[in-house]
Every structure is written in structure tokens, then in C-alpha cells.
């Protein structure tokens, strides 16, 4: 049994490869609209954000307001991804399925619950988290990088955040996760994690970095 009382997963980039796929599409869309953006730039500047913060980050960077067609085409991309599914991060599905039955677990993500539930179903994990799927847009007033969503998730699981481990992949995510007081594992397993991703997370104070789910398993004492 793990030395933790519960495990909380970020979703995009931790369980599914949507960070890489989504930012490739985002980069193409911004470039199309006249704001030359590479997938690396999109990943560096917009990962882990959602809603108004996501839009504000882009608008601040490009120095202008995004046109209505940006939002329309983002919606199209999202609908298509949700219909067709997105690949799982290598090892993620087996890892979730192999968690000890009595270990409370939740998803705490900046995405909507319908996005998370849809993709969990694609992955065959529809029931893996029960009702413990939490969205920074729906369940708290202040999403990541504030710690509120993780605190809310731990509260709903009935566990002390200090005895909880959180798997996060983004700078925004690990900042909120560290601020919550949980143990944080920086997961650099997704295709969006280029060389140096672990160092970037370490520089923000993350003490444990895992490059795949076998490392996660060892770090949380599941072996």
C-alpha cells in the first residue's frame, strides 16, 4: 500500500497526450490568424491554463484581442478531440487500473468535467475515479495556479492534503500543487515534455520528478 492517503491526478499531459496534440493545433491556429507560433512556444507559454487565464496569457503575448473565429475554431478542435479521443500518456491507463482498490483518487484539472469524463471513457477508465473528477472552472472560484482545486479535491476525498500525492506536469500545475501543501511529483512522461522539463519543474521547488509511470510507482511506494 502506498505511503500516501490519496492520489490526485492532473489530467491533460498526465493521463492523456492532449497537451502535445492541443498545443500543436493551437500553434497552427494562431499562426493561421497571423501570430506565428511554434508548438514549443505554445507549450512553453500556455500549458496548464484554462478559461480567462488561458485567453489572457495569449492576448498578453500577442498584444491584441483574439478574434471570434479563434474561439469558434478552438471549440471545433475540442469537439473533434472529444469525439475521436486522444492517446493516453504511455503507461497511464495501466497505472490507474493497478492502483490499490482502497486508495482514494481524484482528477483535478483545469479542463471541464465533460472533457475529462469523455476522455476517461475513451481510455476505458470511465469508472476509475467515481464522482471525484474536479474542474478548476466548475468547482472552485480560483483555478490553478491557486491551490484551491487540490484542496477541494482532497476535502471531497476526505483526506488531509498533507498526506496526498499529486501528479502534475506543468509549471502552473506544480505551483498550485506545491501551494496546496501536498507532496508533488513532476511527471515528465508526455510527448510535450522536452529535454529539461524536469529541471524546469525542479526550479519551481518540485523535489520528485518521474519520467514514466514506473518511476511514479516507485516514488509513491506502490512496488
Amino acid at each position: 500500500m502506498s505511503r500516501f492517503a490519496a492520489i490526485i491526478f492532473d489530467f491533460d499531459g498526465v493521463l492523456i497526450e492532449s497537451e502535445f496534440d492541443g498545443n500543436r493545433q493551437l500553434a497552427a491556429l494562431l499562426t493561421d490568424l497571423g501570430h506565428q507560433t511554434s508548438v514549443e512556444e505554445a507549450l512553453k507559454h500556455y500549458v496548464g491554463l484554462s478559461g480567462p487565464q488561458f485567453v489572457a496569457a495569449i492576448e498578453t503575448r500577442i498584444g491584441t484581442t483574439l478574434p471570434p473565429q479563434f474561439h469558434a475554431r478552438r471549440t471545433e478542435q475540442t469537439v473533434r478531440a472529444l469525439r475521436e479521443g486522444v492517446a493516453a500518456v504511455a503507461g497511464a491507463v495501466d497505472f490507474v487500473r493497478s492502483l490499490p482498490q482502497g486508495l482514494p483518487r481524484a482528477v483535478a484539472s483545469s479542463s471541464t468535467t465533460s472533457w475529462i469524463a469523455g476522455h476517461l471513457a475513451h481510455l476505458g477508465l470511465a469508472d476509475a475515479f467515481g464522482s471525484h473528477v474536479y474542474s478548476g472552472r466548475e468547482h472552485v472560484a480560483r483555478g490553478k495556479p491557486e491551490p484551491d482545486l487540490y484542496l477541494y479535491a482532497a476535502d471531497q476525498l476526505g483526506v488531509d492534503i498533507a498526506h496526498t500525492v499529486i501528479l502534475e506536469d506543468s509549471e502552473v500545475g506544480v505551483t498550485g500543487a506545491l501551494a496546496s501543501g501536498a507532496t508533488v511529483i513532476g511527471l515528465a512522461a508526455g510527448r510535450h515534455c522536452f529535454d529539461g522539463h524536469g529541471d524546469t519543474l525542479r526550479a519551481l521547488g518540485v523535489k520528485h520528478i518521474a519520467h514514466d509511470f514506473d518511476e511514479v510507482r516507485r516514488l509513491i511506494g506502490l512496488d
Binding site: E146, E171, V172, A179, G205
Partner: protein, 219 residues
């Protein structure tokens, strides 16, 4: 040896990245170079590179080091970042543009009295003992409301809350707690974050970061 201008550029760039990650405008974050213990020559290299906000913690050191520099760069803003004695209130008011270490009523009274006498009204941050450490300066968390109210009814301007997390502890939970306390008391500014943790501080709401090592030393 990396030139001061290059170090400054790097830090501004790091600040911009962190601010944008949190959907904030980089210009909402004030960069303060902690120049306590630094020579006039070291400071001048940053002044020449265009930097104007500096943090000092001792009135005597400022009085000895800064007059010549201020004569050449009159638009410099000096920030008091160390514990201030009430009997130095007059000198502090004359030297500092902003005080980041207001932690008790007696100091507020002394500063307010001098402010009335001299018509100089610096901005003040309330320093909060966020880790509830016995040896650390800062007001108790429970005293923020009363002290903020006292500042608001004084001639001084309430700039925000300032804190230094316990040494060796993960700073993020303390930054988040200070931000929450600021919101609860309708206080806008947050002076948090130093060389090792300013990106975290900015993502959690810092409006002023106090950076020494990374501003003056090669990394």
C-alpha cells in the same frame, strides 16, 4: 562575467514568463534589486542598465552609500526591506519611497507622526509573520485586519502585504496563504518572492519581488 544589463534582461524575461503563465501582465510586477551590502560600484552597474528600484535594510548604510548615487539618478526609488526601529522613523521617511516592513502599531504611529510633520507619505507594506516563527519579524496573522485599518486611517498609503516564508520550507503554501489573507482584507499588493522562488511568487500573485543574488551575482 555576465554584464548587469544581461542579468537584468534575464530576470525581466523570467518575470514575464511567470506573469503570462498566470494570465497576468508582466508590468504588474515590480522588480526590486536588493542592494543591501552591495557596493556603490555594483549598484551603479544596474543603474546604468536602467534599473531604478532598490531594497535596503539599514538606515545608516543608505545614508552612507546612496547620496552620491541619488545625485546622479534622482528618479531612484529606495525600498526599506528590513526591520525598522521607531526612533529611525524620521530618517526612514526621508530616505525611502516604500517601506516593506511595517509590523507594529508603534512603528506606524512614529511613521505617521513624521509623515504629518514632513508631508512625505511613503507606501507601506505590512510585514506578516506568515510562518508564525518566534524569532521572525512581522505582525501576527490575526493582527493584519487591525493594522491595515490603522494604516488606512493614517496619512500613509497601504501598498500591500509582505512576508518571508520560513527558511528551508517550501514557500508556495506561504505565498498562497498571504495572497488569501490579502484578498480577505481587500489589500491589493503582495511583496513576496526572492532570487530562488520569484517565479512561484509571481504565479501566486506577487506584485513586488525582492531579488538580490540573481541581480548582482553571476548564475
Amino acid at each position: 562575467m555576465i554584464a548587469a544589463a544581461e542579468r537584468l534582461d534575464r530576470i525581466h524575461s523570467d518575470i514575464a514568463v511567470a506573469a503570462r503563465l498566470a494570465g497576468r501582465k508582466p508590468e504588474t510586477v515590480q522588480l526590486i534589486a536588493v542592494s543591501k551590502g552591495r557596493t556603490a560600484e555594483e549598484i551603479e552597474s544596474l543603474l546604468a542598465a536602467g534599473h531604478r528600484d532598490f531594497g535596503e535594510n539599514r538606515v545608516q548604510e543608505v545614508a552612507a552609500k546612496w547620496p552620491d548615487l541619488l545625485a546622479h539618478y534622482p528618479d531612484v526609488r529606495l525600498h526599506a526591506i528590513g526591520r525598522l526601529q521607531s526612533n529611525k522613523a524620521g530618517e526612514a521617511l526621508a530616505l525611502f519611497h516604500t517601506i516593506h516592513s511595517l509590523d507594529r502599531r508603534s512603528l506606524l504611529d512614529a511613521l505617521a507622526k513624521e509623515a504629518v510633520r514632513t508631508s512625505r507619505c511613503p507606501g507601506v507594506y505590512l510585514q506578516v509573520n506568515i510562518g508564525e516563527e518566534e524569532q521572525k519579524g512581522g505582525c501576527a496573522i490575526g493582527d493584519i485586519g487591525a493594522l491595515a485599518a490603522a494604516v488606512r486611517s493614517s496619512p500613509l498609503a497601504l501598498a500591500g502585504l509582505m512576508a518571508i516564508p520560513p527558511l528551508g520550507a517550501e514557500p508556495a503554501p506561504y505565498f498562497a496563504l498571504l495572497a488569501k489573507l490579502a484578498r480577505a482584507n481587500s489589500i491589493a499588493g503582495l511583496s513576496i518572492g526572492m532570487s530562488g522562488d520569484f517565479k512561484t511568487a509571481i504565479m501566486l500573485g506577487a506584485t513586488a519581488v525582492r531579488i538580490g543574488t540573481a541581480m548582482f551575482d553571476d548564475r
